[in-house]
């Protein structure tokens, strides 16, 4: 596309500014995780690995991390199954209530978290269900479904229907076609959507506050509790830095997966 150098540099400059805006607060956190003083003050007074060592030994952080991982994994798996079923149904059939179903699936992520949290809290209490890992997974799965659903629908729309027809013509039955043709074509969308859903669940705090119950602590809840306590603040910055660094890998992987779609999709792109 013919763009003048000036336009390119203008956009490049703006991009640089926005990226700086995005990363400055994060950089401050990383720097503060090595600070010798224990409060979130600026500028940093010195350099130390003390907090990194403490975070490594912190049982509270470790337990919270495990709970978060369990919740996110459970929620993502449920969301994958339900999102796949819903996307298949919506893509292949025109049925009464399709619009409403679409709206229903989108609602959990469109409505503010506090609404979802309070609604689920009241509903669980009325049903007499005890708060715990199960209620947490159920709550998280509810807003994760839409991520998988949208990713899969977008992928379905790009796929050519000829592939499944060809498979049937060659004698495969429905389940064989799904296993050998449809599912491999969906794999990267499932992975990318799954990673996004995992990330959403991992960092979620509002709905979690209302549905985890008193005893269960996810990582965000642990962070929230400890950010208010002065002496624990640096450990929190360490945990945040660690999560950020660890997340670079799945983000990169998901990126490679979704942008490498080529002639294999059978679409007309």
């Amino acid at each position: 596309m013919q763009l003048t150098r000036r336009v390119r540099m203008l956009f490049g400059g703006m991009t640089g500014l926005v990226l700086a805006f995005l990363y400055l607060p994060l950089a401050i956190i990383v720097v503060l995780s090595f600070n010798t003083v224990s409060s979130l003050s600026w500028p940093p007074k010195g350099f130390t690995f003390r907090w990194w060592r403490a975070a490594f030994h912190s049982a509270g952080a470790r337990d919270a991390l495990i709970v978060s991982l369990k919740t996110a994994t459970g929620a993502t798996l449920v969301a994958i199954v339900l999102g796949l079923l819903a996307a298949l149904a919506v893509h292949r059939f025109a049925f009464f209530g399709r619009e409403s179903l679409n709206l229903m699936i989108v609602l959990p992520i469109a409505l503010p978290g506090i609404v979802t949290g309070i609604a689920l809290n009241a509903a669980f209490r009325q049903a007499g269900v005890e708060f715990g890992l199960l209620t947490l997974i159920v709550a998280h799965a509810t807003f994760c479904i839409v991520v998988l659903y949208n990713n899969l629908l977008a992928r379905f729309r790009r796929l050519s229907p000829n592939l499944e027809e060809a498979s049937a013509d060659l004698g495969a039955h429905t389940f064989q076609t799904f296993r050998y043709v449809t599912f491999p074509l969906l794999r990267t969308a499932l992975l990318a959507g799954g990673l996004l859903a995992f990330g959403l669940s991992f960092d979620e705090i509002v709905v979690t506050t209302f549905t985890a119950g008193a005893g269960l602590e996810t990582l965000p809840i642990w962070i929230f509790r400890n950010l208010s306590r002065g002496e624990q603040q640096p450990i929190v910055t360490v945990v945040a830095t660690a999560v950020m660094l660890m997340s670079v890998i799945p983000v990169w992987v998901a990126q490679r997966l979704t942008s490498d779609d080529g002639p294999l999709t059978g679409g007309t792109r």
Binding site: M1, Q2, L3, R8, F11, G12, M14, T15, V18, L22, Y23, P25, L26, I28, I29, L32, L40, S41, W42, V81, A89, F93, F95, E99, L101, L103, M104, I105, V106, P108, L111, P112, G113, I114, V115, I118, A119, L120, A122, A123, Q126, T142, V146, N150, H173, T174, F175, Q176, G199, F202, I205, V206, I223, F224, L227, A240, V243, S247, Q255, S259
Partner: protein, 291 residues
């Protein structure tokens, strides 16, 4: 030659049966997700609305399950709640506009200007902050805009301090990636040939951007706005950390949750109405496909 039927595997028999009963195919697919969403989500929303119609027991010992619109009457009569609702909506709108302005150049740069290798890197660079904890980011901003002693204060000598302006900046920061992603996807789908054609016909870049790119991007922009709007309407944590004395819908709901659940529920219904109206309104723009 006599016709012999080969024995069919259970998969084949099931497949044959399903082929003859399309409605069963549909129900087997849609049953589980629909049941989940209806019972769990719509059901709990209905229960929330029902709770908003109850009221606190006069003796202060619990909730009277008596239907009445008293909570809503309080909301409308006491002007402070109307002010809070209006302020929250105003904040959400400003945050959304700010995010749109920030997201457009970077999304365009990544989607249309850079080559494939840089593109992957930059998209990953935009997504990584999403994985940084929301709480930690909010706390970091607390250290940045606080005055005296914050980062801005120490570096520039001036700082917005905790308050509505600071809150808008922080909320815009927090939701920015959620605006960049849909706009980027929309730009990816925009064929380069359209932009070439526009410049072939004599338009300079600004004109092309305004008259070709933006109208085609409209659904993606609206899709992004759904996130920023809804996230801003319900937020109470960032408000508490950097908003100073600012009161928004989220703060009122959270404060009243344990003490007066029916009232909190009633106020929580307000953002629901706003968002549902917004979503129904944007359906025609095709934005919902781009979420």
């Amino acid at each position: 030659m006599t016709a012999t039927t080969l024995p069919s595997s259970p998969g084949q028999s099931a497949s044959r049966w399903l082929h003859r009963h399309p409605r069963a195919r549909l129900i087997s697919l849609i049953g589980a997700p629909a049941a989940w969403m209806l019972v769990l989500y719509v059901g709990s929303l209905a229960s929330l609305f029902l709770t908003s119609l109850y009221r606190l027991n006069d003796a202060g010992s619990g909730i009277d399950k008596v239907i009445g619109a008293q909570n809503y009457r309080t909301l409308i009569d006491k002007s402070v709640y109307l002010d809070i609702a209006a302020r929250t909506i105003k904040i959400a709108v400003l945050v959304t506009l700010l995010d749109i302005v920030l997201a457009l150049p970077i999304a365009f740069f990544i989607a249309k200007i850079v080559g494939a290798r840089w593109r992957r890197l930059l998209v990953a660079a935009v997504l990584v902050p999403l994985w940084a904890s929301y709480l930690v980011k909010a706390f970091s901003w607390r250290a940045i805009i606080g005055s005296p002693g914050g980062v801005l204060d120490k570096t520039f000598g001036a700082s917005p301090n905790y308050g509505e302006a600071g809150l808008i900046i922080v909320l815009a920061y927090l939701w920015l990636p959620y605006m960049i992603v849909p706009i980027y996807s929309g730009l990816e789908r925009l064929p380069d040939s359209l932009l070439d054609a526009s410049s072939d016909l004599g338009a300079h870049f600004g004109f092309t951007f305004r008259k070709v790119v933006l109208p085609l991007l409209f659904p993606s922009i609206v899709a992004g706005s759904v996130f920023t709007f809804s996230l801003s309407l319900g937020d109470y944590i960032a408000v508490d950390l950097v908003g100073g004395k600012t009161q928004v819908i989220g703060s009122v709901v959270y404060d009243n949750f344990s003490a007066d659940l029916p009232f909190a529920a009633a106020f929580a219904v307000v953002p629901v109405i706003v968002m549902v109206a917004y979503i129904l309104g944007i359906r025609r723009t095709g934005a919902l496909e781009n979420l």
